[in-house]
């Protein structure tokens, strides 16, 4: 095809015993935004690197700009790796100059392009700042500018939106969109399914296999007329969802504000439900789930076996003016909230906003500079050990011991949480059965598939049946089915009276929370239920609400 800038068919790539790509084909066309979508470990990065000529496939060959990818004219290919590829000890302009020279840009066009790119990325003011001193969003823009320094014909972006705040993500998207208008062929890889929806054409990759290729509309058409929203009072939404998920005619369900969002097996609204189900707009994720075909039960074995957490008048988690300063840098400023027993509270915010700092103060891992907090009634200043004993902690990236087997990890974590003898054996047996870990018991945790790592991490955190759970980015990078399963467990536990504090950057997951605190630049800029926050900003989705709130906070800052 004439307007094709990159293509591949029948690509196979193995790393040792794992098959990273299995007979995968892709096509990137001039002037189009092509999405490469899939969960972590799906093979996105491997495929992009093959197109960039950085990896040789085992079978077949990738083409870029009309020649083999490894021999293509790299001065006309822009590539932005996941970590942006910036030299942190060079300044903004020095990074640009370096990449301009490497791509053989002549001196006259150079200055013109720099001026354009600096304006485009709004980095003009920071030209002489070291790249290492830029914020995440600014690094991302500079990374893009470096890839664009000589207008490419093919632009390969490896998860450009990961970890940066939604505002920067949206700005970046618009910038790249402009480029497609100028005729650049863009390949945008992402784990965010909402980004896939906005692409011209989408390749959906899962575990090394291509599940879907074509316009996102094709996938949405599959589920047309099968998506409904059912209003449910906030207090009953979790139990309602669990019941509905156990019905055979329901393919998928999630919480959405004061209601439940359902994907039906057949076209037509659910029958025999209280309340009026209204048709909802299908999303890319619905299509993905439909293609995967798997369904998660609404009943959580973990929750059924869990003890009932007794009711209490005091909040299960409380933060009162928590502040943390590192030198003259304030990482968290005056954070206050209270979470009642049996509630899910979400901390939302971009990377580096202060979520994790707040989290660590409440876990007793960081001593607050001022303010106080309590967990399960234990004051963090005086009874840290007791407070820690009554919480289960699931750290970012599932901090398991990769060199220990599944069984050894379970033994170790049950040990540090003080389980002994028969109680320990019973707890390990229970989680083994619930999370289907038996077959992996002698496998090293480091080599488990991501979904199983996440299950194991959750298992390790709940073996001692704590009344409070702390989950730090618990569903980062896993596929939607695994996420559903995870939330099914959490919802079940909450019904048993467990209190959950969770951080996430998936805006649709924020809907699972009873209440949310939005943290931005170390301050808590908004707190409320998902519906309240949406209403407050007049937005339809959490993402829009989030962006509106951040923009309002920025305006306030500039005015001050």
């Amino acid at each position: 095809m004439a307007d094709e800038v990159a293509s591949a068919t029948g690509i196979v790539k193995r790393f040792g015993a794992t098959l990273a790509l299995d007979d995968v084909g892709i096509e990137v066309r001039k002037g189009l935004m092509t999405g490469l979508v899939g969960p972590d470990g799906a093979g996105k990065t491997t495929l992009i690197r093959i197109l960039a000529g950085l990896i040789d496939p085992d079978a077949d060959e990738a083409m870029a700009l009309g020649s083999a990818a490894t021999k293509a004219d790299h001065s006309r290919i822009g590539y932005m790796p996941q970590r942006f590829g910036l030299y942190e000890d060079l300044t903004v302009i020095e990074n640009l100059r370096l990449y301009a020279d490497l791509r053989g840009l002549d001196r006259e066009t150079r200055e013109e392009n720099f001026a354009h790119l600096l304006e485009f990325t709004d980095l003009g003011r920071f030209q002489s700042r070291l790249a290492g001193k830029l914020s995440g969003g600014m690094k991302q823009k500079l990374g893009l500018a470096c890839a664009l320094v000589r207008q490419p014909d093919l632009l390969l972006l490896d998860e450009p939106g990961v970890g940066v705040d939604p505002v920067s993500r949206r700005e970046l998207w618009q910038m790249v969109r402009e480029l497609t208008g100028e005729g650049v062929g863009v390949l945008w890889s992402t784990a965010y399914l909402d980004e896939a929806e906005a692409c011209d054409t989408v390749f959906l990759l899962s575990e090394g296999k291509m599940l879907h290729a074509g316009p996102p509309g094709d996938l949405l058409a599959r589920v047309e007329g099968r998506v409904f929203r059912l209003p449910v009072p906030a207090t009953e939404r979790r139990t309602t969802l669990a019941h509905l998920l156990d019905r055979d005619d329901v393919a998928d369900g999630t919480l959405q504000g004061e209601g439940v969002r359902l994907l039906m097996r057949e076209a037509g609204p659910p029958e025999g439900v209280a309340g009026q189900a209204v048709p909802a707009k299908p999303r890319f994720e619905d299509g993905f789930i439909d293609v995967l075909g798997a369904k998660v039960s609404g009943t959580s074995g973990l929750a059924e076996a869990y003890r009932l957490i007794p009711a209490s008048d005091t909040p299960a988690i409380e933060a009162r003016g928590l502040t943390k300063r590192f030198g003259d840098f304030t990482a968290a400023q005056d954070i206050s909230f209270a979470v009642q027993r049996g509630q899910i509270f979400g901390l939302l915010g971009p990377n580096g906003a202060g979520k994790s700092t707040t989290f660590k103060m409440l876990c007793g891992l960081l001593t607050p500079s001022s303010g106080a907090g309590s967990v399960a009634g234990f004051d963090l200043r005086h009874a840290r050990a007791d407070a820690r004993q009554s919480l289960g902690y699931m750290a970012q990236k599932f901090s398991l011991y990769g060199d220990l087997s599944v069984k050894q990890n379970l033994d170790f974590f049950s040990g540090i949480y003080g389980l002994k003898g028969a109680a320990r054996r019973a707890a390990i047996e229970r989680v083994n059965a619930i999370f289907h870990l038996e077959n992996y018991s002698s496998v090293n945790a480091g080599t488990l598939p991501l979904g199983f790592k996440q299950r194991l991490a959750l298992a390790c955190a709940v073996m001692h049946e704590p009344p409070v759970l702390f989950l730090d980015e618990p569903t980062s990078g896993v596929d939607p089915i695994v996420r559903r399963e995870f939330w099914s467990h959490i919802n079940g536990l909450v019904e048993k009276g467990v209190t959950v504090l969770v951080t996430t950057h998936f805006m649709d997951e924020a809907e699972y929370c009873d209440r949310i605190a939005l943290i931005y630049r170390a301050t808590q800029i908004a707190t409320g239920t998902p519906d309240e926050l949406k209403a407050q900003t007049g937005s339809e989705t959490m993402e829009d609400a989030f962006i509106a709130l951040i923009e309002a906070a920025d305006r306030l800052r500039e005015a001050a």
């Binding site: 790393f15 690197r49 960039a52 000529g53 950085l54 990896i55 040789d56 490894t70 021999k71 004219d73 790299h74 001065s75 290919i77 590539y79 932005m80 790796p81 996941q82 970590r83 942006f84 590829g85 910036l86 030299y87 942190e88 000890d89 060079l90 020095e94 100059r97 370096l98 990449y99 020279d101 490497l102 791509r103 053989g104 470096c146 390969l156």
Partner: protein, 378 residues
Amino acid sequence: MSGEFNLLRFTAMLGKETRQILRDPSTLMIAFVLPMMLIFLFGYGVNLDTSRTRIGLSVQDQSEAAASLAVAFQSSRFFEVAEVADADALGKSLVAGHIRGFVVIPQDFGRMALRGGGTIQVVADGSSPNTASFVASYAEGVRQTWLASRPDAMGRVKGAALTPPISINSRLWFNPELASRFFLVPGAIAIVMTIIGSLLTALVIAREWERGTMEAIMATPLRRFELMATKVVPYFVLGLGSMTVCTLLAVFVFGVPFRGSPLALLAIASAFLVPALGQGLFISSATKNQFVASQVALLTAFLPSLMLSGFLFEISSMPRWVQAITYVVPSRYLIPSLQTVFLTGDDWGMFGRDIAVMLGFGALFFALAIGATRWRIA
């Protein structure tokens, strides 16, 4: 297409590398502060010379001969007679570590001496073999000197001059005082250049992998050998700069003589940097991790330079199979030339040979590095 060497890309990467060196305090520490520390350490701290060993003396004879031998020991510049007591007490002192050995002048020494004989007993602490053999041989030396200085030895009539049948008149050339820092300090220069050439080069390439910049520049038209050249040139210059600092320190602070020409030193040092840098590149082609790179560089470059180059331990006194290994340590060919240029003067015949061998090793390492580096991520 961009298959050939491109000067613009090369200078851009060279400028980048230079800026990184200048902005990274740890690189400058390794290049300039570490060498200074090493030179000071070898100049002041490490001293392989023995001076004034503490010994004990037990004189069990009242004769004039015994007394004068005792004086000879006390006035020796190699010994400090710390204790004069009977042999039992000295034995205890030796065990306690107060003295390194002791000399017993036995009861009938005077009588035997008149007959031209006379033996003394020397007891030394065998747990430090170097010191023990030093005590034994120097004690014998003191006795010989004392013997030679007695005109009435062998019962001859006084005044009749005695000429020993053979006399050894030894002169030490080039380092008459046998000061170890004279050869340690040039050796330290070899260590410093090994560190810069192999360790630093391996580290900076591993750093590009770790920080994800390698894949970004690999996706540009940059060629593999352009990248290698921009890693070699700055560290070559840095290595020579560091060598110059060391030399100036050695000559002006430690008074190490410099009898050769600066040109010879430059040629020798430059030749050595070729295998050192080649080895660094070779290491970096095999590892993408700074920690592993530093461990490999320490084990394969730094330690051999320290132990097997003849810098600290003389190669001729090593077991044969260890000697055989030293032939593949490039710094083995650097140390003798370096010591020669400092202590003796220019000997281009020797330098030429060593330089040729070092360049040969360099070519080998570069060939290996180029063969092992694949311009791919996996």
